[in-house]
Symmetry: C2
Subunit: 348 residues, 2 copies
């Protein structure tokens, strides 16, 4: 079968190649791939900066944002042919840590997890994949092709769950959220913020293209320009850019008892001059929290599926700005000005 692969650690090694059919050891459920979303992590892997192949192999099949249709599933697995499904990314080690042991593999404490399409496990960017039923999520019927947004939405659902759980340390009724970055993660964070009844603000660099309107259609307020100019002190910041200066500005802008959720992975080597004394003083005197969040567990996929199901489907559809066939994977991985989520569509 054809698959989009890469030699991890080696730039310019990505290629669509013929790979063996998925082995039975990947799980009893056979899925035909419909679409795979691409994101910053894929770009990092393709550039040779991240990613690990399965043990004993040279190439890694890419793709962790999946959408597929079950081709064959054993009786009693909870799945049957025709189901629309999304595969979960992370797997705990066979000897799980305390978090993995209760299914909170997103919080893995020893780093011995694997990840489909990222770390030591083939991803979903192949014509077919096999998977374990415990790591497969069935989509509500109406969601259809938008199900490819489930994985990024699961990351956002985890971010919101942790904001709420951390917020329970004291009496706190947040009213305002500022999302920095209007990419797919930022827009989904804004969606889940609106679903919680919050006053949603989104800050991004661009002033044109679909992003401002997408935010307004949610009932949110779109801002571009410097953080200090937005005129609010948000209770929550969901930082989705990884831009070093925004992380600091967001914290200084936060209301008392506020929470900054770092949901964007930035590269190292971005050294800036920071008044850490002021940042520290501000966080202490205001009881502020800053936390990082990565990945998602089954609970978050389920929460994300509910969030997507109750969203405006036309609005969600506009998050998918391009669909490229597998043969044009290079175009899919090359950012264009108005891109939000780009998808490799295996049905084209």
């Amino acid at each position: 079968m054809r698959a989009l692969t890469v030699i991890p650690g080696k730039a310019n090694s990505a290629a669509v190649v013929e790979m063996p059919e998925p082995p039975a050891s990947d799980g009893p459920i056979l899925v035909r791939t419909l679409a795979v979303g691409v994101c910053g992590t894929d770009a990092e892997i393709v550039s040779g900066q991240y990613g690990w192949p399965p043990r004993g192999e040279e190439r890694l099949i890419l793709g962790h944002e999946s959408l597929g249709e079950v081709e064959a599933a054993p009786a009693g697995s909870g799945f049957s042919a025709g189901d629309r499904v999304v595969g979960i990314v992370r797997r705990p080690d066979p000897v799980p840590c305390i978090a993995c042991g209760i299914g909170e593999w997103d919080m893995c404490r020893n780093g011995r997890y694997t990840e489909r399409g990222i770390k030591e496990r083939h991803g979903y960017a192949s014509e077919r994949f096999r998977i374990e039923p415990d790591f497969l999520v069935k989509l509500a019927p109406g969601l259809d092709a938008l199900g490819v947004l489930l994985e990024p939405a699961s990351v956002v659902a985890k971010a919101w769950e942790h904001i709420e759980r951390i917020g329970r340390r004291a009496r706190w009724e947040p009213a305002t959220v500022l999302v920095t970055g209007a990419g797919p993660i930022g827009l989904l964070a804004a969606l889940l913020g609106r679903q919680r009844g919050l006053d949603v603000h989104v800050l991004d660099r661009v002033t044109e293209g679909p992003k401002p309107q997408l935010v307004r259609n949610l009932g949110g307020t779109y801002h571009s320009g410097p953080m200090a100019g937005i005129g609010i002190h948000p209770d929550i910041v969901v930082e989705c850019t990884g831009a070093a200066s925004l992380v600091m500005d967001a914290t200084l802008q936060l209301a008392a008892d506020g929470i900054v959720c770092l949901a964007g992975v930035s590269s190292g080597g971005r050294r800036i001059s920071v008044d850490v004394g002021m940042l520290n003083r501000d966080m202490v005197l205001d009881n502020n929290v800053m936390f990082g969040t990565v990945n998602a567990n089954l609970r978050h996929y389920q929460a994300a599926a509910e969030a997507l199901a109750k969203a405006d489907q036309a609005w969600l559809g506009r998050l998918i700005s391009r669909r490229e066939p597998l043969g044009r994977w290079q175009r899919a991985l090359t950012r264009q000005p108005d891109d939000i989520k780009v998808v490799i569509d295996f049905t084209l």
Copy 2:
């Protein structure tokens, strides 16, 4: 009566002056002051950098770490003459915010709180003070003169409560805590860490004097030198120095799912070059949390009173490195090499 006062905002204005007897409007309970601890906030106020006088007055009576003996209390107040007591520092605004309204004034959201000895309310560094019963904590009999440690211990009890509450966002069983700074807050944080059964490490600059032995007597490990040399990846860091570079180093050293509690207030204007990109990436991929904490509410004073009561009283006594009479307040406010907690003793 004599009181240690300052004109807030004016350096070198501190003086022991004659002040009116405490007004009935301060509360129905009359307390004779036994001791007042001094801390970095007092030094900041005396240097003119912090603090606000009561409305309509020029001078502020200093002192927020109190210990006193009730002289007179109305029947039914829950207090009676001879009780050893400590006054709570913060008061909510008469129109409370959502946190203050349920007694979590340490999490005040609108900043309209007042604080005895700091912000718009006279402190406890006078021969007598009056207070409301709801803001007074009675000490267990045995604690005696060590009760002056209750206020700093309450700040530490709040820090630990928030570490534990934030930690509940996921399954987490922390084993190791690193405390940075072996001053009174750091040593009390180490004590409460040991009381929780944790492996306690304390990092400070000094290699001599009482601090290393105090840590060892707790069953903890004492370190000096650079953070990277301590050889552990702690689950928890309680940062008590406010030193900018330590805040960053602590976060990079943290284990997955780890929590950095910022409990030291640093000055602004400490600009350093930071790889914020790396810090952000590390916090995201490791699900790390950094939070600031200030002040304490009644629940934390009660937790602190329990913690102090079950501690080794001889060990606690060694935290009070000097006692100076009111007339020598200037000596009390001048740091000497082996100082830990210095107390102005009103009985001398």
